[in-house]
Amino acid sequence: MSRKRFASILLCLIMAISLASTAMALDPGPDFYVTDEAGVLSRETVDYVISVNSELEELCGGQIVIVLVDYFGDVYADEFTVSLFNDWQVSGSGMLLAASTQENRGGITVGSEIEGSFPDSMKSQYLDRYFWDDFDDGSYDEAVTNLVGSLYDWYQDEYARNGDGISFFERLISFIIRNIFLIIFLVLVLMIVLADRSRYRRYYFGLGIPIPRYHFWYIFGGPHHRYRGPRPPRGPRPPRGGFGGPRPPRGSGFGGRSGGGFGGRSGRSGGSFRGGGGRSGGGFGGRR
C-alpha cells in the first residue's frame, strides 16, 4: 500500500471518529444559551437569545437553549438533543433545540416539567411553522429568532394560563370573548323577561288590584297574555219603545236585578261568585 493511500485512509478514520464523538463530547458555549459550533449565527441573534432567556428565567425559571452543529454524525437527532439536555442539565421547565446545518435535521426536547403541556406534536408544529423554512434556506438568524420568539410567547401564555401574572380584568375579558354568543343569548332572554314583566304589571295596574308576584315562566302564558286591551266603546243604545208608551214591567227588587257579583265574604262555595274571567295557572304555593 502506498504512503498516500495509507495517509488518506488514516485521515478518514480520524475524521469518522471525531465526527462520531462530536455529538457526545460537546460542551455548552460561553453564553450557555447559544452554542454555535457551525458558526452561522450573528452576534445580534446570540444577544437576542440571551435577552429572551433572562426574561424567561425571571418569568418562570425556563430556559431556551440553542445548539447548532455541522453534523450529528451517526447519532439520531433525538438522542443527540436529549443527551445534551441531560448532560448540560438544562432546567426542568426548559427547552433545547439542536440542529445540524449540513444535514438539515434536528429537533426540540423539553424538560420533564413541561413535557405534558408541550408534547411532541406541538414541538413539530412549532418547528414547521417558525423554523424549518428559514433554516432550510440557510437563513439561520431568522430561523432561530422566529423560533425563540414563538417559544417565549408560548411560555408567557402557559404561565399566564396557570394563573401567574394575569389580572382578573384580563381573565374577565378573555372569558367574555370566549363566551360571547352565550352572553348575547342570555342578555336577549333577560330583555324579553323584563319586557314581559312590565306588561304584566301594567295589566294588573289597569285592573286596579294588587299586583301578584311575577314568575319568569309567565312569558309562556301568564294571565296578562289573555288581556286584549281596553274594551271598545259600546255602541249606541237601541231606541226605546216610543214616547209615552207602556213601560216594561219592573222586577221585584230595586233598580233591577243583581249582576251576581259580591265583594264580601260568604259561607257559600265559590260557585255563586263571578270573578274577572281569568283562570288559575295551576300553581300552588303554601302547605298542602
Binding site: M24, Y76, D78, E79, V82, N86
Partner: protein, 193 residues
C-alpha cells in the same frame, strides 16, 4: 316509447324495489360493519371508553410514546458508560423498531423487544457504577417506562377488540357478511392470527 311503458307497471316497480333492497341491504351492512370495526381500531390511537369506570382511558399510542421517550432517556444515560454498550445498543435498536413500526401488531412486537431490552439494561446498569445524576435519570426514566407498560395493560383496548369480535362479528348476520366480504376484525395489541 312502448318499451318504456313497462316501467309504468306495478309489477316492474315492485321488482325494481325488491332488487334495490336486495342490493342495498348487504352493502349497507358491509359499510356499517367495516365502520364499526374501524371505530374499535381507532381506540388504539384515541383511547377506549371504560364503561365500568366512566371515563376514556389514555390511548395505547400515547403510552407507547411514553415508553419510547423513557427508552430514549435510558439510552442517553447508558451511552455514557462503555460497560453498557451492548444493552444500550439493543435498547436503542428496539426503540428504533418501535418508531418505524406501522401496524398494531408490529408495534406490539417492537414493544415486546423493548421490554426485554429494558430488563437487560436495568439489570446491567448498577454494574456500570453510574454517577448520581445518571442514577437519578435512570430512576426517572425507568419509572416512566414501567408506568407506561402498566397503563397499556389497563387501557381496555384488547378487551374492546375481543368484545367486538365475539359479540358483533361472531354473531349472525355480521359473521356471514364478514365472511362474504372478507372484512378483517380490528387488530388487537398482540400477535394476530
Amino acid at each position: 316509447m312502448n318499451g318504456l311503458k313497462v316501467f309504468k307497471s306495478r309489477k316492474t316497480a315492485a321488482a325494481i324495489l325488491a332488487l334495490v333492497i336486495l342490493a342495498a341491504t348487504p352493502l349497507g351492512a358491509y359499510l356499517s360493519l367495516n365502520k364499526a370495526a374501524q371505530r374499535i381500531e381507532d381506540g388504539f390511537y384515541e383511547g377506549v371508553y371504560l364503561d365500568d369506570q366512566g371515563y376514556t382511558a389514555g390511548s395505547m399510542d400515547t403510552y407507547l410514546s411514553d415508553a419510547s421517550r423513557a427508552a430514549l432517556g435510558l439510552v442517553t444515560a447508558g451511552s455514557n458508560y462503555d460497560a453498557l454498550d451492548a444493552e444500550t445498543q439493543e435498547l436503542r435498536s428496539a426503540r428504533e423498531s418501535l418508531l418505524s413500526a406501522g401496524t398494531i401488531e408490529e408495534k406490539y412486537l417492537a414493544n415486546e423487544r423493548m421490554r426485554a431490552a429494558f430488563e437487560a439494561f436495568s439489570a446491567a446498569f448498577p454494574g456500570a457504577v453510574p454517577s448520581d445524576y445518571d442514577q437519578e435519570s435512570f430512576d426517572t426514566y425507568s419509572e416512566l417506562f414501567t408506568q407506561s407498560q402498566s397503563a397499556m395493560e389497563h387501557s381496555g383496548y384488547n378487551e374492546s377488540v375481543d368484545s367486538f369480535v365475539s359479540s358483533v362479528m361472531g354473531a349472525f348476520p355480521a359473521k356471514l357478511i364478514a365472511a362474504v366480504f372478507s372484512i378483517d376484525p380490528p387488530e388487537s395489541f398482540g400477535v394476530n392470527k
